[in-house]
Symmetry: C2
């Protein structure tokens, strides 16, 4: 097992659920492998009981699709699988088919940093059934996690009301790229820096950090430790003051701050990592001000999230910079988004597209059929509503009615005059060729900022947000209803609600 | 950004918090880089409000340490960092020092699959201060996550009372190795297979899976879909019955089961992925039995965890195999373990080891000083107590008193006669050389099983478990108390509780 160095050198095609491969084989056996299909990746509820979601992960999806192929050792692994009678699970002709498989789907997606809501596709894949199917698991893995963390970061930075938020989560993150992808998504969502040096190197995110308790403990006294740190980094002194006693720590920081000043340098501030942050930050502020350090910043950390930051803000804690870790990078209160990837249309043997629904006893689990897209209506820089519509829809109409996908009594009529329209899903690959020019991470972060500004603060409220209207265009709604009735067979002998 | 293929080819030395590097530099500047130190990695509370923790992750730690070095591009990245006045953050002599750094620590650890409790070190690193410090973050990242998931898996398989548990979490896991490491740790903790094909390939874990709703939806009828699947995998038919209507789905599965039987094959069973699992599994059992399929298994999935499995067991649901995903691989109810890594001793300039404590206002945050290890006392195959002791302790004594690290009124006297002793931390690296023979994953899984069997079921109870006794040997307890008193300076002018 060579996790640290060699793991990601080979293709990631096997990073999928085994049932995708058994289905792939069975599609191939049934002559359906190349039948064209449309799948949509979407989620059903905003995370964290919030009012919005911030999309992230597309850049990884692009990499995944570009590298999509079965390598020799992947095929060798599959070839070794046996049935109970000792025959190979997969015929050798199928292995050859996999060996020569090239990604040739159309893929549309919302750009990273786009605010998105339940039921709207974040990614749409159209292509050979077998390829669409094999992409399901990795696309979900990538989009679920990064979207979750970007959203969490947007909530936390919203709570910080413009203060700088630093992401410190590497040590508690779920695995190596659980950390790296989280650093990237956190930066997109609004954090200003990360502690993760590799994320800094790979993604160009600013890195941040000074010293830990162990630094202090490795010296005989805290004062010596602060002095030694100031010698090494006269320009970057943020002293961690709570190793032994916070008040004494602040006194020692001030003492070294004065030594620095005598040398023409200024300490940047102090950090408090334990105890009552409201209480100690206010004491620290007063001590620093009194000692002539009104510009020294106070950094706070210790299991912070958007709720605790809000509470500290209400208590008027004197905190300038927020270090967040575990609660951000693991999305502690809801560590999975729960996006799904559903077949919505398939081309039948006569070459005609058939829309598809999966019926469920839970209404929220009924997917949206057909090939659809979504558009955002904007008035004077503020988003008014999103409409999910069939690709065949005429978007130049002067009015639309949208219907809530769960509660058909909730409808909204939209007069398009004077409204800007922003298409949410845009082409990324056409027939397997990338047609999308990737923005850099700074542009993605700016897109997130712009997107979040489109929405009224009522939708961004952390608790009990105002629900932003997203609906199915009437004819799409009707199509879905008809299909569900047909599948549920209410005219048949016995049927279930 | 090349996440999928090239990310893990370079060294992982930069997979650390930036403050580890600033401290490393400052240690080097202060002449302390090679000063010898001891750090311990431990956690303070069992996860999930449970009574035990199952260690995992050591194999990754070994890989990390063996590959530990700063590559050329790592150093180039660091060399580009600048102070506010434009001078380089790190002197070039320091870069040279990093370039030639070779891992030369002693490292001891508990083996994977060991049951472990709060305060006991899971990993102990002894070596140059600078190296110990640089290892902190990656070791925490690895051990925190895998230990968390192995523990969760042990709880879930405990709830399943011997039934097979399959891990299905890839699509909701936190990143790529958030999934892979979780599959591995889940297998160690007791799962019998994974859906993650790459985890199967890399780690040799059995893979499992049949088909999804999309398989059914790609055919005109469910019956056709089942028939086509049975054609491709006559030996491996587990039919997913809830795409449209669960009862009809079971009828269709039975129909295809009869076709298979006519060809001399047996369907393995059915899977239910939604709706009331207790209700539908019992109906399914009755229908399958009546139709002559008493051996067909019923697989259930849909947001299962140990609590829901326990509830379904109490309701006498007819479920034979449990598919668990999100709640397992993200450790949904507690997605981070919170282990820490603390300096416990340092060799002073006279070559004498000095024990160290970090004092805190929260008593649980006071670490255990000195170079210590832990031993488990076992009577007739059952663990009696764990003792944390100074390496200088004489283990041949006939009795020990252990004291709870938090509440000194909780003590236990241990007469060693007739007790087996199992040392928990064993040597992995000595002076940077691996001395540990790695077990394979099957052996690790067996070690976990053996370890879990050492403990009374009262400690494994999912809710309100009986607390297993773990204490500090008296003289270690006394050392800690003395150091805390000294640090808190109760004899000084003004001191705080």
């Amino acid at each position: 097992m060579k996790i640290t160095k060699d793991l990601y050198q080979s293709s990631l095609a096997l990073l999928t659920d085994f049932y995708q491969l058994t289905m792939a084989y069975a599609y191939w056996k049934s002559g359906k492998a190349e039948q064209e299909a449309v799948f949509n990746l979407f989620f059903r509820k905003n995370p964290f009981q919030g009012g919005f979601t911030l999309a992230a992960g597309l850049d990884y999806v692009i990499d995944f699709c570009r590298n999509f192929r079965f390598d020799k050792d992947d095929l060798e692994y599959l070839a070794e699988m046996k049935n109970s009678d000792g025959t190979p699970t997969f015929e050798s002709a199928f292995m050859e088919y996999l060996e020569h498989m090239e990604f040739k789907c159309d893929l549309e997606a919302v750009e990273e940093g786009t605010v998105i809501f339940p039921h709207t596709p974040m990614v749409k894949v159209k292509g050979p059934l077998i390829q669409c199917q094999l992409l399901e698991t990795p696309l979900l893995n990538i989009m679920n996690f990064q979207t979750l963390i970007a959203t969490k970061a947007a909530r936390i930075t919203y709570a910080a009301k413009g203060d700088s938020v630093l992401e410190f989560g590497l040590r508690r993150a779920q695995g190596i790229d659980g950390a790296l992808a989280a650093s990237r998504a956190s930066y997109i969502g609004g954090c200003s820096a990360t502690s993760n040096v590799m994320a800094g190197k790979l993604f160009g995110i600013p890195v941040s950090g000074t010293h830990a308790h162990s630094w202090i403990m490795s010296f005989d006294t805290e004062l010596e430790a602060f002095e030694a740190y100031a010698d090494a980094f006269p320009d970057k002194c943020v002293f961690l003051v709570d190793t032994y006693d916070t008040i004494n720590g602040i006194k020692n920081a001030i003492e070294v701050g004065k030594i620095l000043r005598a040398k023409g340098k200024e300490m940047l501030g102090i950090r408090i990592d334990s105890g009552d942050l409201a209480y100690y930050s206010n004491i620290a502020r007063e001590m620093l001000d009194t000692a002539g350090f009104p510009n020294a910043k106070i950094v706070a950390s210790n299991d912070l999230d958007e709720q605790i930051i809000t509470s500290l803000k209400i208590q008027e804690a004197s905190i300038d910079i927020w270090g967040v870790g575990t609660k951000l990078v693991t999305a502690y209160d809801q560590p999975a988004l729960g996006a799904v990837y559903k077949l919505s249309a398939i081309k039948n043997t006569e070459g005609k597209w058939e829309p598809k629904v999966k019926v469920s006893q839970q209404s929220i689990k009924i997917n949206i059929p057909g090939e659809h897209n979504a558009i955002r209506f904007i008035r004077n820089g503020k988003a008014v509503a999103d409409m999910i519509y069939l690709e065949t829809e005429d978007l130049s109409k002067t009015s639309f009615t949208i219907i809530d996908p769960i509660d058909p009594t909730k409808r909204k009529k939209i007069m398009t005059k004077g409204l800007e329209q922003e298409k949410l899903l845009i082409p990324i690959f056409i027939a397997g060729q990338k047609v999308y020019e990737r923005p850099n991470l700074g542009q993605i972060k700016e897109n997130a900022r712009r997107n979040l500004n489109l929405f009224d603060k009522a939708h961004k409220r952390l608790v009990n947000p105002h629900i932003y209207p997203v609906g199915l265009e009437e004819s799409l709604y009707q199509l879905r209803t008809d299909l569900v009735f047909k599948m549920k067979n209410y005219d048949g002998e016995e049927s279930n609600i």
